[in-house]
């Protein structure tokens, strides 16, 4: 009996590690028609936990392996990229050279730009004058603008926009952020700002002799209609004069 008990204990102990389920074999050896052995809930819970832990650990190890692989790949790519660029010293030198060239090129560019500015000035003056007048003004201005563009030698084609990197540098960004902060603090939603018309019309309202608001008539009402009328009038007068002659 002692041997059997020891054996049973040993067998039970061995089997507890993976999943302490009662082996029907041992019990059936002794009493086949007895009720199955009661397994206490704690034991079963421990068994389930252990299994879960094992699976979890396996998954973790798998994930770690993948991470390792990915990291190694990343390092490899960075290495390759670095190898592609020139060494830093050479890059620095090139940048300095570029700056020197820019500085010397700029006055030369300015001089060239100013000499060719006569064409632009004429176009500007004529454009202003035409604005005051004739019906073909729109087309003419456009044609002249196109001419102006062509003379500058820029080629814009397609739907991309070429920007000078100097304007979008880090200092520009800092400055823009600072200005935005200032604007938000002074003119933001909490600052209780009001339109100039309303502000200055208060005095007119409180006067003993009440007057109209400062901007009673908004000059921008019907602006395009007025411009069209103006152009029509000039064109009509021109035709009248022509017919009269």
């Amino acid at each position: 009996m002692a041997r059997r008990q020891k054996g049973k204990a040993a067998a039970a102990g061995k089997r507890r590690a993976p999943a302490a389920l009662p082996s029907p074999a041992s019990s059936s050896e002794d009493e086949a028609d007895e009720a199955p052995e009661e397994v206490p809930f704690g034991v079963a819970r421990e068994a389930a936990e252990a299994e879960r832990k094992l699976v979890g650990e396996a998954a973790r190890r798998h994930r770690e392996l993948l991470k390792e692989k990915r990291r190694r790949h990343q390092e490899l790519f960075a290495e390759q990229k670095k190898r592609k660029l020139l060494p830093e010293a050479v890059l620095q030198e090139l940048q300095e050279l570029q700056e020197l060239q820019d500085v010397s090129a700029r006055p030369a560019e300015q001089a060239v730009a100013d000499d060719s500015v006569t064409l632009d000035e004429e176009l500007e003056a004529e454009a202003v004058q035409l604005d005051q007048g004739q019906a073909e003004s729109q087309d003419q201005v456009e044609v002249q603008e196109k001419k102006g563009k062509k003379s500058k030698g820029a080629r814009t084609k397609g739907n991309y926009m070429a920007v000078c990197l100097k304007d979008h540098s880090v200092t520009g960004l800092h400055q823009q952020l600072a200005k935005d902060f200032l604007n938000a603090q002074l003119y933001g939603p909490h600052t209780n700002r009001v339109q100039a018309n309303e502000f200055f019309s208060l005095a007119n309202k409180k006067d003993p002799v009440k007057k109209a608001a400062v901007q009673f008539v908004d000059k921008s009402w019907g602006k395009d209609k007025k411009e069209k009328a103006e152009r029509f009038k000039k064109r009509w007068l021109a035709t009248q004069i022509k017919n009269g002659l």
Binding site: D115, A125, Q132, F181, Y187, T191, V194, F199
Partner: protein, 689 residues
């Protein structure tokens, strides 16, 4: 006064830029002012608050703070991250050093003027040393997160207080470490928005005064870290703060345009304990007051409505004189309009472009005060934009109306104008000689044959204008020795023989404008202790009439090289008190060719026809007597006539000129016309509206 047909011009769309920073010179009586467009101006208090120097702005340059250091050197710093030194004799932004911390929000000099501290966007406070050639980086003080919006040195230079968002900190200068950090928003419950400390000051008693965006002025004991007093001066933000030298008076500027004075007064009469009390409220501005300064005798404030207001403190004024009057300046003290008399053209100078207009005409006549209908409307001929980011220094149109010239800080441009029938064309004159430095003042000669260009150190270049469109440098007129500043006013004579020039150190010289190796320089007008605000040479008698900024008028005879007898009579009699107590200087003098005894002058609020043949008024008679004279009968009028015939109908005046015998042009700029174009003001709630 005579009957004139007046062209009343109100289409000059000038919008002056708002005042952003003020800096009082520590010793002297000068005030440096920076505007939102980057222009820097220097006002001389001793010369009746005359705007003696103007440095035009730059598109990329914003000035966030100005300070005087090392005597007479002026430094400015802005959001571009550079510290610029302004060359006041050369009228340009001379050297720039990158601060190295991003946009610079504030800059202050220590009490001896040897070091500059700057507060940057990245939260660092840097110290620069002021050396003879420029400035040199010394070291970085402790850096914390949060942009440093305001700085102040302790009068003994041991500590610096730096104001930021929601807190301010006190830094020990020798060790560079932050010794105290005080949260400003701690007392406000349920603070929904951050509290920005806009201005801060460290007093010698160890009290820190802060002005924040909740409209509070708070007094802190920084060593204990406690709040001693808190005054809520406004519902909107308190934007600027200035402490007097004696530290018993503070001026605070707010977003609503109101300024307040706080004074340190004893609690009981004759007692020892003193407390800060809000004493005087002022409402001089309609827009935000972003700059204030406290001089020993006056409170100075500058707002975004482009006004500079100087309010003298009555208790500091010794004697009762016009010094105690409130002064307000909106428009510049120099001419921005040039007129081509024969062609009836006006050239308007803006900061980045010029506009050429032709005046309208009328064929009717009418009675005094009538508005005549125009048969031809005034025409906007050309708008000439200046190339490059620099603002325009000066501009001029020739009397015949065919040449237009303007100058920026680096280049000088000349154009030829062709008016053929309906169209106007502008052609640039090529190969204009490059001058270094370029023009501070341009003036065409009366016959439009030559161009005078005022340059540095008192010299004037003479260019000959060639048909059909060219110019050649003839010679350079050099001043008498000892003239170190640039010429800012020029006046050629009508016969083309003489040229009068005034330089920044107030030396007026008359030189022959035709090159003559024997007669290099004719004579110098005796120096006066005030700046010249306008000068002109009479066409027939060749008398030089000079108007000074303290409202004195002098007439100097060029052929005789001495003051005329009329001028001596005026000086011995003294000018009328109402004339001397005017607020703005005379900016233009002109003459009537048909009537040699008439001088026409104008300042911002009046235009005057001075008749030398009539007697001078004394203090007992009324100066502005035109309206009373109109009602008197002929005989009584003759008895009461005096030399000053003043008209105050056209205000504020930017320019006035005589086109021909009975035709005047006046250029006005009503203040309400540009106030609606300024940034938005803060709402004022009034009962019943």
């Amino acid at each position: 006064m005579g009957e004139f047909e007046v062209h009343r011009v109100r289409f000059f769309g000038l919008v002056p830029a708002g005042v952003r920073c003020l800096a009082c010179h520590p010793r002297g009586s000068r005030l440096a002012l920076a505007r939102t467009d980057g222009a820097v101006e220097v006002y001389n208090f001793a010369a009746n608050y005359f705007q003696e120097k103007v440095i035009p702005g730059h598109e990329l340059r914003t000035v966030e703070s100005l300070c005087w250091a090392a005597g007479d050197r002026l430094f400015g710093a802005g959001l571009s991250g550079d510290i610029t030194e302004y060359d006041l004799s050369g009228l340009s932004a001379a050297r720039g050093v990158d601060g190295g911390g991003g946009p610079i929000w504030s800059m202050v000099a220590n009490s001896t003027g040897t070091q500059l501290a700057i507060g940057c966007e990245d939260g660092s406070v840097k110290i620069f040393q002021v050396v003879p050639g420029g400035i040199q980086f010394e070291r970085n003080l402790d850096r914390r997160k949060g942009r440093v919006l305001c700085l102040s040195w302790h009068p003994s230079d041991t500590h610096i207080v730096a104001g930021s968002i929601d807190f301010f900190r006190v830094i020990d200068v020798t060790s560079g470490q932050t010794v105290q950090r005080i949260m400003v928003n701690h007392h406000v419950e349920k603070a929904k928005r951050e509290c920005v400390v806009w201005a801060i000051s460290l007093l010698s008693s160890g009290t820190v005064v802060s002005a924040d965006s909740f409209g509070r002025v708070q007094f802190w004991d920084w060593e204990q870290g406690t709040l001693a007093e808190s005054h809520t001066v406004s519902t909107s933000a308190a934007l600027s703060l200035a402490v007097s030298e004696k530290e018993d008076s503070i001026i605070v500027g707010t977003s609503t345009g109101a300024t307040y004075q706080l004074q340190l007064l004893p609690v009981t009469l004759g007692g020892q304990e003193k407390r800060w009390v809000r004493t005087k409220p002022f409402q001089f501005h309609s827009h935000d007051v972003r700059a204030v300064a406290h001089s020993p005798t006056a409170l100075i404030s500058g707002g975004l409505d482009a006004q500079l207001v100087i309010r003298p403190l009555m208790e500091k004024i010794q004697k009762k004189s016009y010094d105690a009057a409130l002064r307000k300046f909106t428009f510049p003290h120099r001419r921005l309009v040039s007129c081509a008399r024969k062609a009836r053209l006006l050239l308007f100078q803006f900061s980045q472009y010029l506009e050429l207009w032709r005046l309208g005409s009328t064929e009717e006549t009418g009675k005094d005060g009538e508005v005549l209908p125009l048969c031809q409307m005034p025409e906007h001929l050309v708008q000439l934009k200046s190339k490059g980011p620099e603002h325009i220094y000066c501009s001029c149109v020739s009397p015949c109306g065919t040449w237009v010239g303007y100058s920026t800080a680096s280049r000088f441009h000349l154009y030829r104008v062709h008016c053929d029938g309906d169209g106007v064309s502008l052609r640039k004159v090529p190969k204009v000689p490059k001058l270094l430095p370029p023009a501070y003042q341009l003036q065409f000669s009366a016959d439009s044959d030559s161009l005078f260009v005022a340059s540095a150190r008192g010299s004037v270049h003479v260019f000959q204008l060639l048909e059909p469109g060219g110019c050649k440098h003839l010679h350079t007129l050099r001043p008498p020795s000892g003239c170190s500043e640039a010429v800012y006013l020029l006046a050629p004579s009508a016969d083309g023989h003489w040229l009068a020039a005034v330089s920044g150190d107030w030396v007026s010289a008359v030189v022959p404008s035709v090159h003559c190796p024997l007669l290099q320089h004719h004579c110098t007008v005796p120096t006066y202790n005030c700046a010249v605000s306008a000068l002109a040479i009479h066409p027939s008698t060749n008398n030089l009439v000079i108007a000074y900024s303290d409202q004195q008028l002098l007439e100097f005879s060029i052929p005789e090289k001495q003051y005329t007898s009329w001028s001596r009579a005026v000086q011995s009699r003294g000018l009328h008190r109402a004339w001397l107590e005017r607020d703005s200087p005379i900016t233009h003098i002109t003459f009537n060719p048909k009537n040699p005894s008439h001088i026409l002058l104008h300042d911002t609020y009046l235009l005057c026809v001075l008749d030398k043949s009539l007697p001078l008024p004394d203090d007992s008679t009324l100066l502005m007597n035109q309206s009373t004279l109109k009602q008197l009968p002929e005989t009584a009028r003759k008895r009461q006539l005096h030399a000053f015939k003043i008209c105050k109908k056209f205000q504020p005046l930017l320019f006035m000129d005589l086109l021909d015998e009975n035709c005047l042009v006046v250029v006005e700029r009503p203040i309400m016309d540009f106030k609606t174009q300024l940034p938005l003001p803060v709402q004022q709630k009034k009962f019943g509206t």
